[in-house]
Structures are given as structure tokens and as C-alpha cells.
Symmetry: C2
Subunit: 240 residues, 2 copies
């Protein structure tokens, strides 16, 4: 590929699925709650449906049916439904709040901290997630993610793939769009970033959806500027 | 003092003068330009008047006379005036851009990196400056400032001491106002934060204004929750 990495000054990252393994982390937390109350259930389904509350909530905003809201709020709405449906009745309010913040305690993929640390030595690195800022800050503390800056769709009261999220991130960083590379494991995110001039970097996360019906993308199409098997490979391809 | 530090979850910091020594850094950069062109002038006055472009620009916004704008823009407007007035005629456009970003290359006070690193081990630490986000991110890279999050008045399209800057920072962090401590070397900033419920931490920066007419505050009044001589002392007072 002929992409010139020297034009890139900052890398911004999708987070859920790209930098952290949300699914195994959520299954672990909710399974522990089930075990505490002696409930046997399909906790993988619980995790996938909890995640669905977030994606459904964002779609309702895009469709003009709801106001913008934090991921925390969307997570809590769906959690309350699922707790009831799965028959979890013993949690106090504080315990439910804590469980909702399981999304603040997602484990990084095993290469993320090393890869990001290497990339940080040459580039500004930041989040560009639909997750809210408080969630992303707490997750970085939990997982040791070495961000220079935490940017979120919350900064723009919208969600990716709205162009204003990508362009807004470049503007806040004082950079031209092509000087910012969007990195994600999801090509729809990268295509939307590329459509408004950002550079793009794909990382493969074949295990994001576990063994369920939904399959992860394992390859990027030729329109993507840089593609890597993990963030250590990615750092090498970015010259660090 | 009876302030209970255990209520604090995040510390947000004023930056210019509080964490970095803007005045000596700016004098160094502009003196080097003067030397290059063989110009002798009062570079301390240049630095103070350049800083004044920023404070004047913010006041014009507060007075309703101008739209909100980035610190970079205010710096550039005043720089163009001063370059002309001081007879600096040989700078290219790129060199003037680079000089304007001298505000992205301000040296931390000698205790800042160690003190912030200690505080980061227990608290979320972030900026809460009137400087724009790109400036603050570049400054952190330059000086090794280990922020968890870069928050700016730019997030709220206003400037401190507007209450919405302090309350907005707490809201973005998902915290109650008293769980966030504003830290600054300037008590007017702390009083404005306290007025809307934030905790407050003063650090003395007696050399901020050099030997000029303007004197730095060296002590906080009794209304301030924590007061320290530098950020190492501050970390100790915050239990880390």
C-alpha cells in the first residue's frame, strides 16, 4: 500500500471491541452476580442483549426518537429490564449502580496497552468512542490505557458515524482531518471517518463476538489505509 | 483544617501559572527570535503583553463583545500586533505559526510532573484550563504531564470563572461537584469553583509573574480546602 504514515499526527480509537474485550468482561461480571444469587442462565445472551440496549438507544437518537444520552444511561435502562427478566431480585440500588459500571471495567485485549504505549511515543493517542467521557476515563484507569486525550461522541452530543464526531475530533485537536487516523475493528466506523477525510487504521478482533451467531470482521477492504492483526503489529506498521 | 479528602475522586487543574511556568517559557522563545534577528528589546514586556492578549480576549467574550474563540486564536492576534511593534520582520508564515505555538511548549514547574504522577495513583487527574484542547494535549506531550483527561473551557464554549465550566467538568466526569477538586494558584478561580460546590486546592506559585509589578498570591484564605507549597506537598496533603 502507498499510504504515507508521516502525514498522521494523532490516532483516535474506537474502544468497545477494538481496544477492550467488552463481551468477556461483561459475561464475567454478570455471571458472578448470577452465582451469588444461585441463578443459572445464559449469561452470554444477557451480555449481548445488554450491549443491544446501547446500540438500540443510539439508533433511537439517530432516528430522531430520543434525545442524546450517555452510554451509562442507556446501559442502565437495559440493565433494569434484564435484571427483572433474569429474576435477579437481591441487588441494592448501590449494587445495581456498581453493576452498571461494569462497562467502566472492561479488560483491554492483551496487546492493547503495549501497542498503545508504543504508538504514544510518536503520536497523540486518544479515544473516539460513543461511550461517555466518565466511562472512558474510568476504563482507562482500570485497564491502564495510556491515552493522551479522551474524546467522545459526547463532546458533540451525537454518535458515530455522524460526520461531526470525526471532524469535531480533528478540530478539537487543531489538526486537519487527514492528520488524524481513526482506528477501529469495524469497517463501518472507518468508512464513515474516511468519507470526511480522516486516515483509517483497521485492527482485527476475531473474538469480539465470541462463538455466537455474529461474526467479527477479520480483514479490511483495500480502501483502508493501514490494517493490522493487533496493536503491536499496528505500531510496527506505523513506524514505532 | 477539617476537610475530608476522602470525598475527592478527581482533581482538575488550572494550567497556565499553576502547572506550567508560562512566563519564563515564553520569554525564552521570544528572546531566541530576537537574538536571531539581532533585536534588543524588553522581552519580559513582550511576554506579559502577549499573555494580555489572551486575558483581554476572554474579557471581550465575557462582556458579550466577541464570539468564543480558541486561546490559539487570541494568542495569534496579539502576536501579530507585537511582532509588528517590536520590529520583527523576518519570520515566515510557518515560523510565525510555530512561534504562536510557544504556548504549547511551556515548561512544567519543577515539582509538577512528580506531584501529578503521585496524585494520579489515587485520583483521576485532568486539566480544567481556559486554554484550548489541542494546546493542552500538545503541552502535555511536550512536558510529560500525565493527565487522565484533558478538559477545557472549550468543552463548554465559555471561559472560567463561568460556573458552567466547573459544573460541566463534574458532569462530564460523572461526579458530584464536591467529588471534584479544582486546583489552582489563583484564588479567584478557586472561589468561583467553590461557589458551585467544587472542592478547592491552592498551590503557591510565587514566581509566576517574575520580578514585575504584578505579585503572585502566596497564601490561600481559610475558605480554601487544601493549600500547599507545591504539588509534592499537595500530594502528601491528599494522602498519596
Amino acid at each position: 500500500m502507498s499510504f504515507d504514515v508521516s502525514q498522521v499526527k494523532a490516532l483516535v480509537f474506537d474502544v468497545f471491541g477494538t481496544v477492550v474485550d467488552w463481551r468477556k468482561s461483561i459475561i464475567r461480571e454478570i455471571s458472578a452476580v448470577g452465582e451469588r444469587f444461585g441463578i443459572e442462565a445464559d449469561w452470554e445472551q444477557f451480555a449481548d442483549r445488554w450491549r443491544g440496549g446501547y446500540t438500540d438507544g443510539m439508533q433511537s437518537f439517530r432516528d430522531g426518537k430520543r434525545e442524546w444520552m450517555k452510554a451509562d444511561t442507556m446501559h442502565r435502562e437495559r440493565l433494569d429490564i434484564l435484571i427483572n427478566e433474569f429474576g435477579i431480585t437481591g441487588l441494592s440500588g448501590d449494587e445495581t449502580d456498581h453493576l452498571n459500571r461494569a462497562w467502566h471495567r472492561l479488560d483491554p485485549w492483551s496487546d492493547s496497552v503495549e501497542g498503545l504505549t508504543r504508538l504514544k511515543s510518536k503520536y497523540v493517542i486518544g479515544t473516539l468512542s460513543n461511550g461517555n467521557i466518565g466511562l472512558l476515563v474510568n476504563m482507562a484507569k482500570y485497564g491502564g490505557l495510556p491515552w493522551d486525550v479522551v474524546l467522545s461522541a459526547e463532546n458533540f452530543q451525537s454518535y458515530k458515524p455522524d460526520p461531526k464526531v470525526y471532524l469535531g475530533a480533528a478540530e478539537l485537536l487543531g489538526l486537519k482531518p487527514h492528520e488524524v487516523m481513526m482506528s477501529a475493528a469495524h469497517t463501518h466506523d472507518l468508512h464513515a471517518a474516511a468519507a470526511v477525510g480522516l486516515s483509517t487504521g483497521f485492527v482485527a478482533r476475531p473474538d469480539e463476538y465470541g462463538s455466537g451467531a455474529r461474526k467479527a470482521e477479520t480483514e479490511a477492504d483495500d480502501s483502508i489505509d493501514v490494517a493490522a492483526s493487533d496493536y503491536i503489529d499496528f505500531a510496527e506498521k506505523m513506524g514505532v
